[in-house]
């Protein structure tokens, strides 16, 4: 028995080395003409898997299958990416930024993927973007929230095909104003990490502009993954704020909702969830009524009535038996953006397989139609998208099912900063250049 584990380890190592050699040798040969290989990185385990990662990969897998079959409605009815079949390698995003940098390198250098699409966590996006430039690897950041990526840095090979988190909270404040909600006091419960702090900062700054007389009466930052909110709910009940804001997501949001309901928080204050749509499939009709809800875009129950969106919504619902929420929309928006940029690059070079640099140049400042509306790469020197969004209020329909009503739509330029502006400065300056109809 003594030699067995060593032999096995050696075998594994040799298999790895052989695979690496094969991978290097096979690059750029005939078979590569017909397929376009992408790495898809999203949470397949851990806290963000149920809320974001798994629905996103479900959506991605479905869309890739439909694209390869040429079954997506126009203008996306060509097979795969410009005739090339899409081959996806899923990778789990769990494990922290250290692991993501390593797996990103492995995808690019070992698996020789043509592009990487992924990353929900802001920390992972921040870590991967510089590596993308270093390796000259086309990288589509499909979800993550922080505005820092293209406001603090500048990257040539990384793109984010969805609006950053500033939009979510500016649009919530605008919604409150548009619906004429009277507000004298606001309170917030957000997770104690960058996402929660950034969301609360953007929300209070926006409220400061639109409701200058409203006071902040409670700022609560329970730990990420806290799960128990009894004390915080007591504090919120005591303060009787007109508006209670939360950017919580996943299990944290579900626990907060389930623990607040019997205490009557939803009756006492107007509760707003800036990114809360994704817990509707999990909570179903336990989701409270009268909550103002964002989805980080015009997604799911707030998606627009367009042929592309109707096809997407129905196809997803038919396959998985639940409504598509923000994550699959954002994944679809990234894949369709990549597809249209590749096809744009192919049209420009006469139909040949485009190089990474040709795709990158086509992606820069690109615009395309996605299920959630028109995506425009207008910020960060053409690398950061802006998009229209929608906010609504939950209600029960005649059958007692939870739905979203009183939907207000906001144009991309109304809730996103203009090019070259830092988001916080833009809000604090009173949204200069915002174009709202």
């Amino acid at each position: 028995m003594s030699g067995t584990p060593l032999k096995q380890a050696l075998k594994g190592l040799m298999a790895g080395a052989a695979l690496a050699a094969f991978g290097v040798g096979a690059a750029g040969q005939a078979s590569a003409e017909e397929t376009f290989k992408i790495g898809v990185v999203t949470f397949l385990s851990g806290q963000a898997a149920e809320s974001f990662g798994v629905p996103a990969w479900d959506g991605g897998r479905l869309l890739i299958e439909k694209l390869n079959a040429g079954e997506v409605p126009a203008p996306y009815d060509t097979v795969g990416f410009g005739g090339m079949k899409i081959e996806a390698i899923p990778i789990d995003e769990a494990g922290g930024a250290t692991k993501q940098v390593q797996e990103f390198r492995n995808l690019v250098q070992r698996e020789q993927v043509d592009a990487v699409v992924g990353y929900v966590s802001s920390g992972d996006c921040l870590a991967v973007a510089p590596v993308a430039d270093e390796l000259k690897a086309l990288t589509i950041l499909y979800d993550c929230g922080t505005p820092r990526i293209f406001e603090d840095g500048q990257y040539e090979y990384a793109f984010r095909t969805a609006a950053h988190a500033t939009m979510d909270n500016v649009s919530i404040a605008r919604y409150l104003q548009a619906r004429g909600v009277e507000i004298d006091s606001i309170a917030g419960l957000n997770q104690d990490y960058a996402w929660g702090h950034d969301s609360w900062r953007d929300f209070t700054a926006s409220m400061g502009q639109l409701y200058p007389d409203a006071d902040v009466v409670a700022e609560l930052f329970p730990a990420f993954g806290a799960g128990q909110y009894g004390t915080e709910i007591s504090a919120l009940m005591r303060e009787r704020a007109d508006v209670v804001h939360s950017s919580n997501w996943g299990g944290d949001l579900q626990s907060f909702i389930l623990q607040s309901m019997p205490r009557g928080l939803f009756q006492r204050s107007q509760v707003v969830f800036s990114a809360g749509d994704h817990v509707i499939p999990a909570l179903g009709n336990n989701f409270p009524e009268g909550v103002i809800l964002g989805a980080r875009g015009a997604y799911g129950l707030m998606s627009p009535d367009t042929p592309l969106n109707n096809w997407w919504f129905e196809t997803y619902q038919e396959r998985y038996g639940v409504i598509p929420v923000q994550a699959p929309y954002r994944m679809a928006q990234a894949l369709l953006g990549l597809k249209s940029a590749i096809e744009k690059a192919m049209a420009a070079n006469g139909g040949a397989r485009p190089t990474t640099d040709e795709i990158r140049m086509a992606m820069k400042g690109h615009e395309w139609e996605a299920p959630g509306g028109l995506i425009q790469m207008k910020l960060g020197n053409g690398h950061q998208a802006i998009q229209p969004t929608a906010i609504g209020t939950t209600a029960k329909d005649s059958d007692g099912n939870i739905t979203v009503v009183d939907i207000e739509r906001f144009a991309a330029e109304c809730v996103n900063p203009p090019a070259g502006q830092n988001s916080v400065d833009w809000i604090n300056a009173g949204f200069p250049g915002a174009q709202c109809e």
């Binding site: 067995t4 584990p5 380890a9 385990s45 940098v101 070992r110 920390g123 000259k136």
Partner: protein, 331 residues
């Protein structure tokens, strides 16, 4: 110079030379993986140093993170990108923390020592998550390192870091071997066997423990600053308990018999993780778990015990380090 000392120097040099040559043949992804494994291996080498004295730290993320943040802040705030300098600063910063923390926890043993180290690393994690000025939970990005004023281009930067890592690793491993074989280093084994007797013989258990803890901390800082440069991004997860857990895993996998084994184990872990991630994206944690259990069952003495077996069968059997090895294969 004593014959065994000369042999240690010589094997360190030969190994370094061999690894440098190998570096030119490896594909780029493997260069990076080896570099990262060396970073982890250095921290695990610190744990091995403690293990020889009968202690296991479950909180080496503390010093790993301090080394990384010291190097990272120096690079981003002051603009020093010189790799050797960043390594030195990371090592010294963590070493100093080790000297500060060591005396506070050196009298604890077993689970109490382990839990205190976890607690300290999680305190650092908690502080860093809240420090939005340096990126909070998202961390921050480091500039590309330079080497004596030379800024390698894209193709050679992986190799440059690999060369740096190999030199650092071989130097650290050689230094540790020399220390372990020295009188001071041997005291750690005595402490593990019988603390009371060590005190009666006129030695200080406290001093031995603090010294080992500081050495472990310095090695942790060295690994942290190396990985910070290799990854180009650092965040508070460097100090999270799961990171510390990986270091302990590497140490267990390596065993404390050989200083080279930690680097081999770290590389094995990286490869197992990477390939299970690639081929089992939804169950990769389980694969790693099975691998760990299999290691404990079939190789309780660690990878180092395999080296020993090979050595014992060879012509050099019974020489040199054997004094330490008798009956220690299964602690």
């Amino acid at each position: 110079m004593h014959a065994s000392t000369r042999r240690t120097y010589l094997s360190g040099l030969i190994l370094a030379a061999a690894l440098l040559v190998v570096g030119f043949l490896l594909p780029a992804w493997l260069l990076f993986t080896v570099t990262k494994a060396i970073g982890y291996g250095l921290v695990a080498l610190g744990i091995i140093t403690l293990m020889r004295g009968g202690l296991v730290s479950f909180g080496q993320g503390l010093v790993y993170c301090i080394g990384a943040y010291a190097a990272g802040l120096l690079a981003t705030r002051i603009g020093v990108t010189e790799a050797p300098l960043l390594l030195l600063v990371g090592m010294v910063a963590s070493g100093l923390v080790g000297l500060l923390v060591g005396p506070l926890i050196a009298r604890y043993r077993g689970i109490f020592f382990a839990m205190l180290t976890v607690a300290l690393s999680m305190v650092l994690y908690g502080i860093l998550v809240k420090m939005n000025a340096i990126g909070g939970s998202d961390g921050f990005t480091l500039p590309e390192p330079t080497f004596f004023g030379w800024q390698p281009d894209v193709g050679t930067s992986d190799l440059a870091l690999y060369v740096t890592a190999v030199i650092v690793a071989c130097a650290a491993a050689t230094a540790c071997r020399l220390y372990y074989d020295s009188m001071a280093g041997m005291m750690a084994l005595a402490v593990r066997e019988n603390e009371l007797r060590v005190e009666y013989l006129g030695s200080s258990v406290f001093n031995v423990t603090v010294r080992n803890f500081a050495i472990a901390a310095a090695l942790g800082g060295l690994g942290g600053s190396l990985n910070a440069m290799a990854l180009g991004h650092i965040d508070p997860l460097f100090s999270f308990w799961t990171t510390s857990g990986e270091f302990v895993f590497i140490s267990v996998l390596a065993g404390h018999l050989s200083v080279g084994a930690v680097f081999v184990s770290a590389l094995i872990l990286e490869l197992v993780r990477s390939f299970s991630n690639r081929y089992f994206p939804e169950t990769w944690q389980m694969i790693i778990g099975i691998f760990l259990i299999a290691t404990i069952i079939f190789l309780p003495g660690g990878v180092g015990s395999l080296f020993q077996r090979v050595l014992k069968r060879g012509p050099a059997a019974g020489r040199g380090e054997s004094a330490e090895n008798e009956g220690r294969a299964a602690p």
